[in-house]
């Protein structure tokens, strides 16, 4: 029997019994916590893969999604946050997803309920957590207070802080110093800090050419696309960007503009943009899901993304303990979401989850307002090793920065936002 005649035969066979399928999956409830690249995609694809048979509630306090990818361009001045925002209402309109504009404050894995800040309690058959990260401000002395006073910003979640950082740069006199401190990997968006250095330098080069960008990196070297970023700094921003590896920031003093390191001499800056160590968001850690790396990240069964700490709870996106060479990126979270959506639909239909899920990743970085470099990879799940590995020979980097890749990066953003929300 060839594929086509099989499909026809099987479709005919099941005509009379489709109600059985509806009763298997129908009425099942999935709650998704977090409307970022992972959560919004999971919500939409559970509806798509189940043919709208599974009820999905997305718990997300905001009215609109704001993209972290491309938000460095807001810091650089060539985009606005409005350019990077899309309403969640299309998920309700096109896919029948319930948007609970609220924050999850407690999960009971035994009763299978999610308590919301507004007081409502949602029950679930399966729970997807795509909670993102929390900043460990206390890992840098002086940062918690400076953060609360709005003097030292992270702007590592696109939103008001992104605009506030831009304003700090606009207020800085020409000849001033902007310093970006980078924690040890893993952190959200591996190329993000280096792209940000490019964007701030792009702004300085046009408007404040005597100013400097100092990058203090706790890592041995630039974590992502090192050769491409270093070439951009040397060719496009000579005398503006200074990169210092193996500089782990241990303390900041906002009033004096002082940054202290574990070994090296202290540095001074007019604008300090300190990225502290990161970990899985609080809702995941307090539910007991962060069982890896000293309680920082959530362990998952990579075939399905089901938590290794709690049944029927799935964790995706930046909060997970990543597999080898798996970046904490928006594109990767979107791909986690599709694996989790298929796994949940399979489980609720009584079939085996895909034994060989695949993931792709593309990280585009803007080195000015138009020219872009990328890193790409393809990851396959290996059942015998119970993890993802990059497919040998696949993936790679840009040969050089180009406007053509800039057009692809813009296309990627528009398309992935639609893929998750429309």
């Amino acid at each position: 029997m060839d594929r086509r005649s099989f499909l026809q035969a099987s479709a005919a066979l099941t005509l009379g019994v489709s109600s059985l399928n509806a009763s298997a999956m129908g009425g099942a409830k999935v709650v998704v916590i977090g409307g970022g690249y992972g959560g919004a995609t999971a919500a939409k694809y559970i509806r798509l893969f189940s043919k709208q048979r599974i009820e999905v509630t997305l718990v997300e306090p905001e009215q609109s999604f704001v993209s972290c990818p491309l938000s460095n361009l807001v810091v650089g001045g060539s985009r606005t946050l409005a350019d990077l925002s899309r309403p969640y209402s299309s998920l309700t309109k096109h896919h029948g997803i319930t948007h609970a504009r609220d924050t999850a404050v407690a999960v009971d894995p035994v009763a299978r309920t999610v308590k919301l800040a507004g007081g409502n309690v949602l029950s679930y058959d399966k729970l997807v957590m795509s909670p993102g990260i929390d900043m460990n401000f206390a890992s840098i002395e002086g940062l918690p207070a400076a953060q609360q006073q709005g003097k030292i910003l992270q702007a590592w979640k696109a939103g008001p802080e992104t605009n506030a950082l831009r304003k700090q740069l606009e207020s800085m006199p020409d000849g001033g110093v902007y310093a970006l401190t980078i924690p040890e990997a893993p952190f959200r968006c591996p190329p993000g800090p280096y792209e940000r250095a490019c964007q701030v330098a792009f702004y300085f080069k046009q408007h404040k050419p005597k100013s400097k960008v100092l990058v203090f990196d706790a890592n041995q070297d630039v974590v992502s696309k090192p050769a491409l970023f270093k070439k951009a700094w040397a060719d496009r921003y000579p005398g503006i960007v200074e990169y210092h590896n193996q500089h782990k920031t241990v303390a900041v003093a906002a009033a004096e503009g002082l940054i202290k390191f574990d070994v090296h001499d202290a540095a001074k800056a007019d604008v300090i943009n300190a990225l502290p160590a990161m970990r899985a968001n609080k809702i995941a850690t307090q539910t007991g899901l962060a069982n890896m790396a000293d309680g920082r990240w959530c362990g998952v069964n990579y075939q399905t993304f089901e938590s290794t700490a709690a049944k029927d709870i799935f964790v995706i996106g930046d909060a997970i303990q990543v597999a080898q060479l798996m970046p904490k990126s928006g594109h990767m979270a979107n791909n986690h979401a599709k694996v989790v959506a298929a796994a949940i639909v399979a489980q609720l239909s009584g079939i085996e989850p895909n034994p060989q899920p695949m993931l792709t990743n593309t990280c585009y970085s803007f080195i000015d307002d138009r020219n872009v470099v990328h890193v790409a990879s393809v990851h396959e799940y290996l059942a015998n090793e119970r993890t993802y590995k990059v497919v040998p020979g696949a993936g790679g980097l840009s040969a050089e920065a180009s406007e053509l890749e800039g057009s692809y990066a813009n296309n990627w953003a528009r398309t992935i936002w639609a893929d998750m929300l429309e």
């Binding site: 099989f6 499909l7 099987s10 479709a11 066979l13 099941t14 019994v17 489709s18 059985l20 399928n21 298997a24 999956m25 694809y45 798509l48 893969f49 043919k51 594109h331 979107n334 791909n335 599709k338 694996v339 298929a342 639909v345 399979a346 239909s349 009584g350 079939i351 085996e352 895909n354 060989q356 899920p357 695949m358 993931l359 792709t360 593309t362 990328h374 790409a376 990879s377 393809v378 990851h379 396959e380 497919v391 696949a394 993936g395 790679g396 040969a399 180009s402 053509l404 890749e405 057009s407 692809y408 813009n410 296309n411 990627w412 528009r414 398309t415 992935i416 639609a418 893929d419 429309e422």
Partner: protein, 115 residues
């Protein structure tokens, strides 16, 4: 829509077979058959980030849509990316991540989508 209804029908099969074994067809393993379309649909979703959900590109996209394209043509293009015969900034790197069998599954999935 056609593919969606087939998917749904196939999802139903495992249950059908378990309840009515008399319906089973010789040499067909019910579970793998009912699961396969879902697996292919989720495999195809790895393309959606750049090519659009189910291969439907955005208006004015700089990356082509895949929905409703000829399956053999899609396979030929993927092979040309892999061999380097067709130049690319990124697609040659992605194409190398998928086996011949996966490429064929993807091509047939997208060919079955309405343009």
């Amino acid at each position: 829509m056609r593919t969606c209804s087939i998917l749904l029908a196939l999802l139903t099969m495992q249950l059908t077979f378990s309840l009515s074994p008399a319906l089973a067809i010789d040499s067909i393993e019910p579970q793998s058959l009912s699961a396969q379309p879902l697996y292919v649909q989720s495999l195809a979703a790895t393309c959606a980030n750049c090519h659009g959900t189910d291969g439907h590109a955005m208006n004015g996209a700089t990356v082509p849509g895949l929905a409703g394209r000829n399956a053999d043509e899609l396979v030929t293009q993927m092979k040309a990316f892999r061999s380097g015969e067709r130049n690319a900034t990124i697609m040659h790197q992605i194409a190398k991540g998928f086996s011949d069998a996966q490429t064929r599954q993807l091509a047939e999935y997208f060919a079955a989508q309405k343009r």
